[in-house]
């Protein structure tokens, strides 16, 4: 949320009010700012690289209560907290962190849950370094930012590990309007949770057999263990949200079928699942696949446990991954865990332009992933059985900045070279799933096949139909998808009350 939004929404007063509470004052006085500034940032305990590349268990092990409280102590409880304006859902970060410092982890978590229904997930996968932590005032003081993401994750994990189950309550009056949420990724889950909190009857339709969207089929277990995801999703269904899996809207039923069945408002959170390919020779050889295919086999279908599970996945010694984002990092580190002795990234720009989370790049490097910058495949090579054996790459140099402000890669003539690979995973981006949105007559789409919305309400060009997340933004982030979901839930609630 921007600073202006925060002021406008009255959040600023709310935060300031909480900051004036006695216990907060006492905590602030207990330790001086000068001392707080001297505490170094606490490292996330992790599995050592040599061990973790042989398993799919989570790399990060999480803070203990003591470390978490020590880390929370670093936070200055600022009067003008930069962190909050860096968080797309404007979590009251200082309040939750001070609760951690005070050892009141339940209260810390309920503070986070006021605006974020998936804290265990965001704490793990948000690109904090460009969001909350980037704006932490400690950075201005020349220090490392408070580990907000690690603390958020800690609060969620700690409470989950306690005996008593978390209780959830709905507020608002129970209403009879049925709302259909299409897609069960972070955008859809957030809309559903928020609307359920407001007392609405919500059904989430998911085409695949498990809910969660990219969180389920894309992000590997070594970053986001499934039991954590399942727990967060269960909390949402406990609110009374019905999740109907194996239901592909547009095929199993159309939007107008649903409308006839009594659904009054719709949220399209169908994500950006359509994988891009480069249309270069040899791309359809066996052994070239999209990151979505590779990761879906492993994450959704558990192919790493083949033949115990029935879905296979290519197991190779030399794996090449094309791309430099989170998707590419996930694919290449998966290949390593499946036994590749050489797992390499080929990225067309240079290191600083890589859009992946900083932590993922660091982990990948520690694990021995080979990075090749300023290179792009121009052709895949195969044998007489139509199987991939390698690829021809071209070197690039960085020219003038393009529309995204990043310097445009320009091919160097005559710089082609060959590498061997038995598997090439293409992770160069995804665009919005066309299936449903191209079918709905009158739904305005943008240049990239994305759904056009009014950014303040997430309303589409059609009355009663809202959209958000990757379906609107193209490949973005979990927390931006959730932010869209919150906004849409508010707007849907208001729209339903009006008419």
């Amino acid at each position: 949320m921007s600073k202006e939004d925060i002021i406008e929404s009255g959040l600023r007063e709310k935060l300031a009010g909480r900051r004036r509470q006695e216990w907060r004052k006492a905590l602030r006085q207990e330790v001086s700012g000068r001392i707080r500034l001297q505490i170094p940032r606490h490292k996330m305990p992790e599995q050592p690289p040599a061990r973790r590349i042989a398993n799919f268990l989570e790399v990060n092990l999480g803070y203990s209560l003591d470390i978490a409280r020590e880390e929370a102590r670093r936070c200055l409880d600022c009067g003008e907290p930069g962190c909050v304006s860096g968080c797309p859902v404007a979590i009251d970060i200082p309040t939750f962190i001070k609760y951690v410092e005070a050892g009141e982890i339940d209260l810390a978590l309920s503070t986070i849950r006021e605006t974020n229904c998936l804290p265990a997930i965001c704490g793990r996968v948000c690109p904090q370094e460009v969001q909350c932590e980037k704006n932490c005032n400690l950075v201005k003081a020349g220090k490392e930012p408070v580990a907000i993401g690690h603390l958020e994750r800690f609060a969620a994990d700690y409470v989950r590990q306690q005996e008593e189950p978390v209780t959830v309550s709905t507020c608002g009056q129970a209403r009879s309007e049925k709302i259909a949420v299409i897609g069960s990724g972070p955008a859809g889950l957030t809309v559903a949770a928020d609307l359920a909190h407001l007392g609405h009857q919500v059904t989430v339709f998911e085409g695949l057999h498990l809910p969660g969207g990219v969180l389920t089929y894309g992000i590997p277990e070594f970053r986001l263990p499934r039991f954590i995801l399942n727990q967060e999703i269960k909390l949402i269904s406990d609110l009374g949200v019905e999740i109907k899996t194996n239901f592909l809207v547009g095929r199993t039923a159309t939007l107008s079928d649903l409308s006839q069945a009594g659904y009054r408002a719709f949220f399209v959170g169908t994500g950006a699942g359509l994988p891009s390919f480069m249309a270069i020779p040899g791309e359809n050889l066996a052994g070239v696949c999209s990151a979505n295919e590779y990761l879906t086999r492993v994450n959704l279908m558990k192919a790493a446990r083949f033949p115990e599970y029935d879905t296979p996945v290519p197991v190779v010694k030399k794996a090449a991954v094309i791309g430099g984002g989170n998707v590419a990092m996930d694919a290449v580190r998966t290949a390593l865990r499946l036994g590749a002795t050489k797992a390499s990234i080929y990225y067309r720009r240079s290191r600083i332009e890589m859009p992946a989370r900083v932590e993922e790049v660091k982990h990948a490097e520690e694990e021995g992933i080979e990075f090749n910058f300023l290179t792009v495949p121009v052709r895949y090579l195969g044998n007489d059985k139509g199987r991939l054996t390698g690829m021809v790459l071209q070197r690039l140099t960085l020219g003038e900045p393009d529309a995204s402000g990043r310097r445009r890669p320009v091919p160097i003539p005559g710089s082609e070279f060959e590498v061997e690979a038995e598997l090439a995973v293409v992770a160069i981006g995804q665009s919005p799933n066309p299936l449903l949105i191209r079918q709905v007559e009158g739904l305005q789409l943008g240049r990239w096949g994305n759904v056009e919305v009014d950014p303040s309400t997430m309303a589409t060009s059609l009355e009663g139909i809202y959209a958000g997340g990757d379906a609107v933004r193209g490949g973005a982030t979990v927390i931006l998808a959730m932010g869209d979901g919150r906004k849409a839930a508010r707007a849907i609630d208001q729209w339903l009350r009006r008419c």
Partner: protein, 277 residues
Amino acid sequence: MTRVLLSERLVPNIFRLVIEAPEIARSARPGQFVMVIPDEKGERVPINLADWDRDRGTIDLVFMNLGLSTRKLARFKPGDSLQAVSGPLGRPAETGCSGHVLLVGGCYGLAGLYPLAREFKKMGNRVTFLAEARDENYIFWEEKARKVSDNYWKALRADCFASGEELEEIIKRLKNNSPDLSRVVVMGCSYLLYVVSTITRELNLKTMVNLNPIMVDGTGMCGACRVSVNGQTYFACVDGPEFDGHAVDWPEYFNRRRAFLRQEELSLALFLNRMLD
């Protein structure tokens, strides 16, 4: 979980399941398929919709005992539940009015073509159903297909896929005797699709084939099912599975189908061993 209502062996290697799936039955169109996950550890297997009953809310799946998943499916009994079934997926087959249509089916395609025959007939076409099989014992649903077609012919081959000569002769004869024959649709194993396409290309007879590439999600999200048609890449699960048989890049298609052969053989062997124990 989806309940199985009926299971039967149609011919030695082909089985039929009737399952409860009212939402799928309501939206099903000829040429579409579903994704079935047999059990908790199962893979997503694409199977054509062979028939459906909107009133009773059921769908029919007919499959050939081939590898692990289809063998697993063959063991389901009434009252058992499948892990998941989703659909209908894929684009419905083109079934406009085109005069005389030849439907060529082999193995499970004898069932998958039935809804197409019914639809073509309803739209006022003349329908010739050509069943390709090893011998008489491998023909099923003949009565059912006869009810929705004008002719029902069989092409029986003594040994496995000798050369397609028999098929070629029949199709040529039909073309000569029936000048209004304007469309062929083929469903069944990949080799049949290929052979018929080769025959009809020479005859310049428009031929649609129902490709069965390897699929993972079946919703357009992974690209495992990509096929080249007319030099362009398509995702068979959302752009197909029906394509122009004369424009398909067959060598690429066969290569991609074989991508996991080693693993498929392994998991089948392990499964058969478990069954023996």
